[in-house]
Amino acid sequence: MNGIWLDFERPIGELEKKIEELKGLKGVDEEITRLESQAKRLKKKIYSNLSRWQRVQLARHPRRPYPLDIIPLITEDFIELHGDRRFGDDWAVVSGIAKFDKFNVAIVAQQKGRDTKEKIKRNFGMPHPEGYRKALRIMKMAAKFAMPIINMVDTPGAYPGVEAEERGQAEAIATNLFECAVLPVPIVVLIVGEGGSGGALAIAVGDRILMLENSIYSVISPEGCASILWRNSSKNKEAAEALKITASDLIKLDIIDEIVPEPTGGAHLDPEQTAKNIKDALIKHLDELTKIPIDKLIPLRISKFQNMGVYKE
């Protein structure tokens, strides 16, 4: 299988290893069948009762499909477009235009990078202000040519560095929130892996917000929360529980519209199936949204966010 086992998956890994070893031998078919059904039961047990922290681990899995793995599987002729026309080109944000099913769309995504070299180039998926400004430039172009927008979120957060501060990280995020609220084309947002706070939200204002089953979306990372709350960043499990950051939490809180299912064990075990599920969900929502006249769509989008919040009147 995937060869990388998270701590809670280790019992499955051990069973699968045993099965592999037996497969070369004769007269053990019965034993193999027994172990295989045992493995199946074990998987069902483990993966149907994932804790919030275990979901965090899956969302950050080193083999998790990233937007650049998914985009070629669901679109035709994706053309990546570069630069914010102001300062530079941020590789933590990938943007472009593509044919998607019957739609011509713009796509904006955050990209973490797979190996060390690419991770550094993409700054571990943490955008600078120019990344958010590139995203906005592409989204505004989409609006100009009446193309729906698909945004894919996968970031630990906006980059917290000196240059990011000086070039206006806060302003870049705020401006995206402001502009996307009234952008006159349908926007569908998919949280692919990590939805890290304001850095995620900056491309996550839209008409529909979907989350992959094992993705997370949070105001602060569990580690950050733990270090503030308990002065101890190793209490991340407790923090993940307290923050309620999984797709099923967010649908209960009325923040997201749909959970896109992943194959048992996580998206990395079957990227093709994951991409198919994503494609089906995106088509369904784009079909619905493109039927709504724009002068109705924007008030609906705004009231969606106006209704978020829990308080006593």
């Binding site: 304001g198 900056a202 923040i255 705004i302 966010f305 919040g309 829990v310």
Partner: protein, 281 residues
């Protein structure tokens, strides 16, 4: 003249400022006589450091007759995530500040110009923004749009409130969406940033003013220096996130002494906003 007006502090507010006859300036270390400091609007006479003051002080300082016709005073926070210790923290903050939540808004006038005014108060859980603050700011913006009045929001915040999780994050989107509607009506919004305004608030309505004014020396930014150090090992040089450096980098319009804040607002509004102004006597 406005600054000769007595700036009265209510008894409970005085408690929040440093006690005792003498106060040490946290920037230059100068020992200051409390009464003198109060008369000087809590500005250090030696280094110009602006001590943090509360929302009552700002109402007194900025608004005509020191009056705010407060709206939705009774909006109260809940505990939607059942977050550890949150209810207790709310209660402590409520007792300490006499507020139900860390922001107020309402109708007021400044130099006889009717406005909608909102102010955050850092004393309430570090000015952190949860559902109530987001809702109050959103309603302030909506009131400005519906009544066609200029909007002034005074911010002071450490960011989104962790204890309300994703709901707090969404307040950034909610308030920014309301501002997009306000902008379509061409109604001015002046954002005043006080020490400190950071993270989720800085990355939403605080940064979206047509004009952004700050007090000198205020800490303003997206990431806190400690978080930057912990997450990526970045060391922020001193002054990186102070008002003066943001001005130098083109992020804000004006750095204005607390003593001139009111007169600056009046000057700006009388130029930007003609049709809403009350007839001059």
């Amino acid at each position: 003249m406005w600054f000769k007006k007595k700036v009265k502090a209510k008894p409970e507010e005085k408690l929040k400022l440093p006690d005792g006859l003498w106060v040490k300036c946290e920037t230059c270390g100068e020992i200051l006589y409390r009464k003198e400091l109060e008369k000087n609007l809590w500005i250090c006479p030696k280094c110009n450091f602006h001590f943090r003051i509360n929302h009552h002080n700002y109402i007194s300082l900025l608004l005509d007759d020191t009056k705010l016709k407060e709206k939705d005073k009774d909006l109260e926070p809940l505990d939607p995530l059942d977050f550890p210790e949150y209810k207790k923290k709310q209660k402590t903050a409520q007792e300490k500040t006499g507020m139900k939540e860390g922001a107020v808004y309402g109708l007021a006038s400044i130099g006889e110009i009717p406005v909608v005014f909102a102010a955050m108060d850092f004393a309430f859980m570090g000015g952190s923004m949860g559902s109530v603050i987001g809702e109050k700011i959103a309603r302030a913006i909506r009131t400005a749009r519906e009544k066609k009045l200029p909007l002034i929001i005074l911010s002071a915040s450490g960011g989104a409130r962790m204890q309300e999780g994703i709901l707090s994050l969404m307040q950034m989107a909610k308030t920014s969406a309301e501002l997009a509607l306000l902008a379509q009506e061409k109604i001015p919004y002046i954002s005043i940033l006080t020490h400190p305004t950071t993270a989720g608030v800085m990355a939403s309505y605080a940064s979206l003013g047509d004009i952004i004014i700050t007090e000198p020396g205020a800490l303003l930014g997206f990431t806190g220096a400690r978080v930057a150090q912990q997450t990526i090992g970045a060391k922020f040089p001193p002054g990186l996130q102070r008002s003066e450096n943001l001005l130098a980098h083109g992020m804000i319009d004006l750095v204005v002494s607390r003593k001139e804040l009111r007169s600056t607002l009046i000057r700006i509004l009388s130029i930007l906003w003609k049709h809403g102004k009350a007839p001059t006597k």
